[in-house]
Symmetry: C2
Subunit: 514 residues, 2 copies
């Protein structure tokens, strides 16, 4: 029962079964015209999945025209997480974004933020929905959300990510929908949209007891009268390219799997482990790729995004169920996903990001958190967001939600960056995202440092011995030795005059090595 009404722009419009909403079909340019200067826009989109494909670019064109006419035109751009060039890139390129939150990984956006031309607020992903409900960011003027279809009674079939869509739809004055017929209809039923959230004092426990539990409904609700435009699209998600699993990633994965095996042997973890959380990026992907042969299982995953290697684990049966808020696949991963969607739909649950990243649920399930990092220091503080203290890379994303609340909080990185010119193990990190209180394990290709139960100086010894690259080990040890002698105290001995000196040296000479 799919409507085939032609929209205002003459585009075929499948999957809009609600006549009232079908009647609101229009072109992306017409829809963009409904967005005023200064609007706060809550957009769909999480790691390249499920973002609106056409209206953002149309809005960018509109902004460029206004700008040429000398009129101010910027918007607040709020999403689930990172999106794609046709959204973040297009709007950043025309300087159309006033304030961006809560996570981005777009090169143009990053450049604008670091040039001081765009405001960026970097929030824990589990805090976004509540902060907006609480009114900390002002009203949601417009929700611009991609969906996979509209049912006859006006409910919205979610697309390949959920992110904050429920919140944007609930709170927005005006809603613009992109109905993307490229999204496979079989997505319908994969989602679990929880309508039980509330502001305190009316909050109730989130009754998820296992990674795969469903506590909501498959569709978003949205009063049709709030919908001011429906745009039909047929465009693919941005796919992610993963580097081939290299030796460094494999070594990191091996250290990690040795450690987990050891924890199982010591009786500190069940053989089925605990729900896996695996961050974005190449190393995380490589770790999952190595899990298959490790003999654990059946496992579950309670994580943010489903990457390629998670699909492989689902297919092999190593992982029985995976919960996330978005897909983040390569072309090959996407092809596999589409080919086996019937099976994946039974095994994958996509949730709102306030639930996928909920501290309550993460602590209850006892996740095993594995996230990438920019750098760690000898005392176990981790920087996930800033390059040389001043420049944003992406953002904290959900790493803090998982690091703080998981059973084991593990951070992974090669021991050097920029062909060895940067040590990712430093005397003091140039920005702290995860404090010494939140980091259990640090892993590089050199080895794994288990920091649990260690006082700071013992952590330093272990991090240097196990994780630092040989090129930097002596210099780190020298820092520690001198700090032990000359620091004003010996709990966390630091020489403040040189604690950040490695970064300073890199900025001056492009090499941290003395």
């Amino acid at each position: 029962m799919t409507a085939t009404a032609a929209g205002a722009a003459g585009v075929p419009a499948p999957r809009i079964d609600h006549p009232g909403l079908a009647a609101k079909l229009m072109s992306a340019d017409d829809a963009a015209r409904l967005i005023p200067h200064g609007a706060h826009i809550g957009m769909s989109g999480f790691t390249g999945a499920g973002h609106p494909k056409e209206v953002p670019a149309a809005l960018a064109r509109r902004i460029a025209v206004a700008r040429e006419a000398g009129d101010p035109f910027t918007v607040g751009l709020w999403t689930g997480a990172s999106t794609a060039p046709e959204l973040d890139g297009a709007l950043a390129a025309v300087d159309g974004v006033d304030l961006r939150m809560p996570y981005q990984s777009d090169p143009i956006t990053r450049a604008k933020i670091n040039a001081g031309q765009m405001d960026y607020v970097d929030l824990h992903l589990s805090h976004v929905a509540q902060a907006v409900w609480e009114g900390f960011f002002g009203p949601v003027d417009v929700a611009l959300v991609e969906v996979a279809g509209i049912t006859a009674d006006g409910d919205l079939i979610p697309s390949s990510s959920v992110g904050n869509n429920k919140t944007w739809l609930d709170l927005a004055d005006r809603v613009i929908l992109e109905v993307n017929s490229w999204q496979p209809p079989e997505l319908d039923g994969m989602h679990d949209i929880y309508y039980g959230t509330a502001l305190p004092p009316n909050r109730r426990p989130v009754q998820i007891l296992q990674a795969g539990d469903r506590i909501g409904v498959p569709h978003y609700h949205c009063p049709p009268e709030k919908v001011v435009a429906v745009v039909a699209t047929h465009e693919p998600d941005r796919t992610t390219t993963f580097a081939p699993v290299d030796e460094t990633s494999t070594r990191i994965a091996e250290h990690l799997i040795d450690f987990l095996t050891h924890e199982v042997e010591r009786g500190r973890l069940p053989r089925t482990l605990l729900p896996i959380q695996s961050g974005v990026g190449n190393v995380a992907n490589a770790v999952l790729a190595n899990l298959d042969a490790a003999g654990f299982g059946p496992l579950t995953a309670y994580t943010e995004v489903i990457q390629d290697s998670m699909l492989a684990l689902l297919r092999s049966g190593t992982i029985s169920t995976a919960s996330a808020t978005a897909l983040s696949l390569s072309d090959a991963g996407l092809a596999d996903f589409l080919d086996n969607l019937g099976e994946y739909r039974r095994r994958i649950v996509l949730r709102s990001q306030e639930i996928s990243n909920h501290p309550e649920v993460i602590r209850r399930l006892g996740c095993l958190a594995m996230n990438g990092m920019i750098e760690a220091d000898i005392y176990g503080n981790v920087n996930s967001t800033h390059v040389m203290g001043s420049a944003i890379q992406n953002g904290i994303g959900g790493s803090g939600d998982f690091a703080r609340n998981s059973y084991l909080s593990m951070f992974l990185s090669p021991s050097t960056a920029k062909r060895g010119a940067i040590s990712t193990i430093v005397p003091m990190v140039s920005h702290v995202d995860h404090t010494e209180h939140d980091v259990h394990v640090i892993v590089t290709e050199q080895g794994l440092a288990d920091l649990r139960g260690l006082a700071p100086r013992r952590r330093a010894a272990r991090v240097i011995e196990r994780c630092a690259h040989p090129d930097y080990r002596d210099a780190l040890q020298d820092y520690v030795d001198r700090a032990a002698r000359h620091a004003p105290a010996r709990h966390t001995p630091h020489l403040l005059d040189e604690a950040l000196g490695w970064h300073g040296r890199y900025l001056r000479t492009s090499d941290m090595r003395a």
Copy 2:
């Protein structure tokens, strides 16, 4: 039905109604003899309340003797939080502590840690019980717990703090009880000991929906056969002396209450506010003292400790119910508490600290967190634990549990320390305990900076304008201006060569002023 058996040491032993346990009465010195070198001891005690009063000192004597004989003797000392001179002080003075966790505020202990002579692990208070259950710290060899009495069936009546006692009693191989007849018998019934915790994958929601909800039982369970010694004591808790509420504290309190009033007016907080969490120390005490006249209410408190001014709020009816894990009273507060215990018992719930500080509950209730700090930086990072980067002050305590999960996360401090020689607002904090992602509001006597929704450079402007002391405002502004020009990027502009220079200057000249 109170037993009056005389213990081995001839001390009258009231409130030991279980004959088998009464038979285990012995002197503190005899009990201390049951603790071997190398033992990990889980002790009761939280902010001076409910710690064992005699066995720790007896143990310290034993250690001193062993030490003189050339024998090694140290123990792992694990508690709820800070204790008292006769516990932390006595054991530290004889170098009897190998590893201390998770929080301390004792001068001798602090000195030993900062001299590099004692290992200290600083944990979120909500993480302690689970970390020990998970085996991260090794076995609990001995539980040494003060109780207010023992029932006929061997259950233990908790004393004036709960802390981690349930965990110590559950996990210890051997249990030593101090039955303190100084503790008022009317405490019985005030506690809520939750026996529903588990390790994942068996965790269930913690079903607290309101601050005063009871989900447990009033007593600890402990198999009598695990109890190796019972010691009868009659000694007061350590009381806390609060500074008289001075002008600085009053100004901080006024800024905070103005802000809350404003939030209520804007509809972002109900008139009954949300459950109050108030940290340790003088400023927190002053804020509560000012709440009474502010016209909010009836309020509740979901907090860690009950200080004097909380009692006043309970008495006046401004606060209807308060949940905590411990009392922390002055002599006057204690007298009032004892005089009105019948009433307070109905209005106060004392819980295990994993529940008083549980991220799940704190987020659900939406606490208003107000904690002291050592220093904050212009970008909103907070240091709660370290003086000049190297020296521990106390520890993070529960401040992270509350800051991360509360509805509003507020940090309070005078704008200077050491008679103006230290600015508590600095370019970069010398240690990070609460990251920019976890701090909503900073308050000094100068004013209040609401950082919600602000990108880093805007936070800097506001913190300098509102919170910095006039003596330091120009220098901060100068740093920000130069960083905006010369930093390698403008998201969080920092000049790494001088970011920690204020601390360096203080270490050299005892004054941060140039």
